[in-house]
Amino acid sequence: MPNPKLQLVEAPFAGASDQSVIQTRSISKIFSLPEGPVTALKDVNISVDKGDFVSFVGPSGCGKSTLLNIIAGLLPPTSGTAELYGDAITAPSRRMGFMFQTAVLLPWRTVEANVLLPAEVYGLDPKSVRDKAHSVIEAVGLKDFIKAYPKQLSGGMQQRVALARVLTYEPEILLMDEPFGALDEFTREAMNLELMRITQKAGITCIFVTHNITEAVFLSDKVVVMTPRPGKVSGVLDVPLPRPREIDTMKDPAFADLIFDVRSLLGRHI
């Protein structure tokens, strides 16, 4: 199945550009479970350029979340290194913001207090962050809910709060682990458009983990396709669709081709 658009796995980023923000060098991760060792990641080499939107896509067990956690500094690799601007990542960094599948809001805090939580942890004066926090909350469309509690908000609104909580601190890199996976299709679509608009405008480098191929292609400049047992990168696909992208982009025949390319990289795993 020759396809000139597909890069092969071997040395996919041998000539990683000077622009690369995140780079992984032959990362492997082996979990020791009671039933024996499990290779979650095997020899993963990827590189993410500044300002790019990169998706990790693949079925359950392909190690995409594990890879994201290693990049976030939340999980040490068994071998290999993840690097942020060439420095090995050994702990979480304030330059990277993390978003989860659920909003992870503290129910006893208002929207505003939830957004100010990182400021408290960082030891910043919440007053100095408040104006910024308010403008970000407004930007994600929750102006009227600043003093509301999480349980008064819908799932989509809660995830907007999580987005505001991370964007307020102006991360250079945004790491997202299926951030809209728990939302319904319509809300998810709206959130994706909004996410693209905001991160493009702010020039934030994004790494987005998903098992939704359409979503991955729609959002990304680059799609990293991963397959399980053992978790590895089966290919990396450039998405040359023009930006800004709107729902109409999905009508583009190139869009359908790209989705098919991702599928063929997944091969027998779907």
């Binding site: 976030a72 939340l74 702990a91 979480p92 960094s93 304030r94 990277m96 913001g97 993390f98 989860f100 599948q101 659920t102 992870v104 503290l106 129910p107 006893w108 939580l117 990182p118 408290e120 942890v121 960082y122 509690y149 349980k151 008064q152 908000l153 819908s154």
Partner: protein, 268 residues
Amino acid sequence: MKHPDQWTDSATQRRQDWYFRLGAIGIGLVILALWELLPATGLVNPIILPPFSKVAVALYTLMQQPFFPGHLAVTFNEIMIGFVIGTLLGLGIGISLAVWPSAKRLTYPFVVGFQAIPKIVFAPLFIAWFGFGQTSKIVMAVVIAFFPVLINTMVGLESVPSDARKLMRSLKATPLQIFWKVSFLHALPIIFAGIQAAFTFAVIGAIVGEFVGSQEGLGYLLNLYNFQLRIDRAFAVIVILASIGAAGFFILEWLDRKFIFWREDRSH
């Protein structure tokens, strides 16, 4: 926000609330009527169960007795001191075990073993160790009261969602920040339920201690009136003890509603 399946219009809701309130009052009245009528009609021996009206009179006269406030104060002290120490002890040990996993693994078998013992068996021992005064009763109250707080503190702290901890770790939070900003507050609704149970248990502990050996307190009075077959007064003491237990419970319930407003298992 409730799921649409649970939506009811507020008029229906209010009407239902009233039905249930009236129903509860109705059941209460039926019980009081039976309590009054069964002994009065001779179906039950009035010596075994004095009618409600006699108990009410006995309650009134008991509260007029000059010795009464002293006994009330003794028991009230035992309950309160036992409750406070038991709660603090349960919180302290529960937090230590939850944040220090090796301590938990070392001591957990003993915690479970001790929990399996009916603590009342210690009451005579505590009298021997701490004498007939208030100390032995306070110790009894502490031993019974601290367990629900201990268990609920451990369960509560262990039920903190891993994502919340992960969020804090991604912010490079210190263990202390994770504990105070996330874990403790997350566990608080469960801990508070344990504290509520602790109060009821402290009442039991104090009274059991007094039953086993004492010269003062409401438990002592209750025992005394039983022996003297002054069952109406015995019932009067029970009413007072029930009131203390209920008052404590409702005060704690009120505090819970006021401070743990985010509790999820509460509809209104």
